[in-house]
């Protein structure tokens, strides 16, 4: 018979094993496949590459690793500028998401309790419609004779339709619109947990309302700002639907590039190496996010 302690230990190990197993099966294993494809040679075949590990004759196996795609990635400025382009779009969109999202999250967090849930629902409501349809809807709004231009012409603000569609500005609008809830929700969660007594304490010590926000609320909401920013920044880095639908030929983004390599050029090794590089690049901001989360957890104790 096992001691209860041993049983507890074993069941704990079992419970922890489940997510690890999940991660291994659905993340590590596919990534290893991608890595393997990225190191293979492109070929006119089905699938369109020569596997790294190949059986030439009966029982004879060769291992041929090809770093060519990675070298090309570094040499061809197109890929580097796509990566820079993605980073730029992700960073600027995150900034605008913060600009729009912080006041919204703050307003919800200070609203009377019974208003908070309906307001949050309004933020999340667009999720009930397909992402793709919502992005398509923006085409109707932003195009040359779309709603926005017609409205502005009718108002008399402009006399020539604005050229937004198929520019990087359309991408910014689409990205900020699509990813705003990802910033608002974690930020709201942080803001609503802040103790309002601290603002009273600050006021008591002679601090005026605007300065109370700057010295008490803002620094304490930084973990939420960081978490929300990462939740916007990371997926936008790999975003390809929005630049594909709203952007023009000048919007170079790594996600769109990957899509093109895979489906248009049928260059699987190239697409795979792009995916691998993107993952490595994204691990950096993720580690930053984890760091801030841990710090926040410590202070909340």
């Amino acid at each position: 018979m096992m001691l209860p302690q041993a049983i507890a230990q074993r069941s704990r190990a079992l419970i922890i094993a489940v997510p690890w197993f999940w991660l291994a099966l659905f993340f590590v294993l596919p990534f290893l496949f991608v890595l393997k494809i990225s190191l293979s040679e492109p070929a006119l075949a089905q699938p369109p590459f020569l596997d790294v590990i190949r059986e030439i004759e009966d029982g004879l196996v060769t291992i041929k690793v090809n770093f060519g795609t990675y070298i090309l990635l570094l040499e061809d400025s197109l890929y580097v500028s796509a990566l820079i382009g993605s980073t730029k779009v992700a960073a600027i969109s995150t900034f605008f998401c913060l600009l729009v999202g912080y006041p919204m999250a703050y307003a919800i967090s200070v609203a009377p309790k019974h208003f908070r849930l309906p307001l949050l629902m309004l933020v999340m409501l667009p999720f009930w419609t397909s992402f793709l349809i919502r992005v398509y809807a923006w085409i109707g709004i932003l195009k040359g004779n779309g709603f926005l231009n017609q409205f502005l012409l009718w108002l008399g603000v402009i006399d020539q339709p604005l050229e937004i569609m198929h520019t990087v500005n359309a991408v910014y609008i689409g990205v900020v619109y699509s990813y705003l809830p990802f910033l608002i929700l974690p930020l709201y969660a942080t803001l609503v947990r802040l103790d309002p007594i601290l603002l009273e304490a600050a006021a008591d010590l002679g601090c005026r309302p605007w300065k109370q926000f700057l010295t008490i609320t803002l620094p304490q909401s930084m973990p939420g700002v960081m978490a929300g920013s990462m939740l916007v920044f990371i997926p936008v880095m790999g975003e390809f639907v929005i630049p594909d639908l709203l952007g023009g030929p000048d919007t170079l983004m790594i996600g769109k590039m990957l899509w093109m390599e895979f489906f248009n050029n049928k260059d699987w090794p190239m697409a795979a190496s792009l995916a691998a590089v993107l993952l490595v690049v994204l691990i950096v901001p993720f580690v930053v996010m984890r760091h801030f989360e841990q710090k926040a957890a410590e202070e909340l104790q």
Binding site: E200, A201, D204, L205, G206, E299
Partner: protein, 378 residues
């Protein structure tokens, strides 16, 4: 009940000429239909250690928050140092508050917490550092200057909160249940320190507490609050010895109450016929009373003594011991009178093992002096 304060200090502030540091005139605070504060009038003098005492929900915290400027009274006025501050926001008041939850800024070090108020008034950096150091020494936490609040124990946080509230040298320090979160030992020790600190600095302390012992030990005066009203304002000793109302008598310490009516009054000697005693009770009371007026006689358990037949005492009752509670220093005895009413009396346990201890079901004769009980008319 013990008192930390030297009695002579008690009346020091009673200078009729001086403008009180706080004057509360007819303050009411209404939430919906609920009166959190109902027509409160109080004056608090410079250098006082003033307690707002009462059970939870009596409005003491609301009144403190009105003084701090976090709430605006529905009606009435608040004067600080003779100036009407009723509409002055918290950040422009010369009061500072120590919060019940301490409300330390979690993202700042101990030093920065203490310096926060000084930065708001743009104190020059050198002077500010000097003041912070002085405050750290005052509450004996110099070594913790660089720590953050989550790295401190409860007692240490309490000290930081006190230092932060005192850093700006406020005219008035408001303390909301300052010792509530501490364990009993630490609480008693901190009571001493607070009183010493207050006497040394001469700052007016206004403290909110539900703990009558805490209020009795530390205060120069206590305002006992009940359902949004001030029941009685007096120094601790008067509050205990001469409760003004039935509520005061019952809230502070133990008391025996006998309902009855006045038979006669001769100078300060009043004879009262009570429902539960065979003989009328003789009480000292200097205010004139009319015969037949319904009153209550209040007598503290420690003033009731066990009598022998030879003792000459006009106030005498007989009863049977029903319960004994041994508290270490004293024992509390519950005595049942022939009418069924129970009377409590206490005796200090002078001997470790008394030769003839009082035991259950024993018949005893109790008595008290005419000048050790009081008359309640409300």
């Amino acid at each position: 009940m013990s008192q930390l304060r030297n009695q002579s200090v008690e009346f020091q502030w009673q200078d009729p000429e001086e403008e009180p540091i706080v004057r509360i005139e007819g303050v009411s605070k209404v939430y919906g239909t609920m009166y959190a504060n109902d027509d409160i009038n109080l004056t608090i003098h410079r250098g006082e250690f003033f307690s707002l005492l009462g059970p939870s929900g009596c409005g003491k915290t609301t009144l403190l928050r009105i003084l701090a400027g976090f709430e605006t009274p529905t009606s009435g006025k608040v004067f600080i140092d003779g100036v009407d501050v009723t509409q002055v926001p918290a950040y422009e008041r010369s009061t500072n508050m120590m919060f019940q939850s301490y409300a330390l800024f979690p993202h700042m070090t101990v030093e920065d917490n203490i310096a926060f108020g000084l930065k708001q008034e743009r104190m020059e950096k050198r002077a500010r550092q000097e003041r912070v150091k002085e405050m750290l020494q005052l509450v004996q936490i110099d070594k913790l200057a660089k720590r953050k609040p989550h790295q401190l124990s409860g007692g240490q946080r309490q000290r930081v909160a006190l230092a932060r509230a005192l850093a700006k040298h406020p005219k008035i320090l408001l303390l909301d249940e300052p010792l509530g979160a501490l364990d009993k030992k630490l609480r008693e020790q901190t009571q001493f320190e607070l009183v010493n600190l207050q006497e040394r600095l001469g700052v007016t302390f206004i403290i909110v507490t539900h703990d009558q012992e805490e209020a009795m030990t530390m205060s120069t005066r206590i305002a006992l609050m009940h359902e949004g009203r001030v029941e009685q304002v007096d120094p601790p000793r008067r509050m205990y010895e001469f409760p003004a109302t039935r509520y005061s008598a019952e809230f502070i310490g133990l008391v025996n109450l006998f309902d009855g009516h006045v038979i006669s009054q001769e100078d300060d000697r009043v004879l009262i016929q009570c429902e539960d005693t065979e003989q009328p009770i003789l009480v000292r009371h200097s205010q004139p009373l009319t015969a037949g007026m319904p009153v209550t006689v209040a007598i503290r358990p420690e003033k009731v003594q066990v009598m022998t037949d030879s003792d000459d005492q006009p106030n005498r009752i007989k009863g049977i011991i029903k319960e004994i509670a041994y508290l270490g220093d004293v024992s509390i005895y519950h005595v049942e009178l022939p009418s069924g009413k129970r009377v409590k009396f206490t005796q200090s346990n002078i001997q470790a093992l008394a030769e003839q201890p009082i035991t259950w079901e024993q018949e005893v004769q109790l008595g008290w002096r005419y000048n050790s009980c009081g008359v309640l008319t409300q």
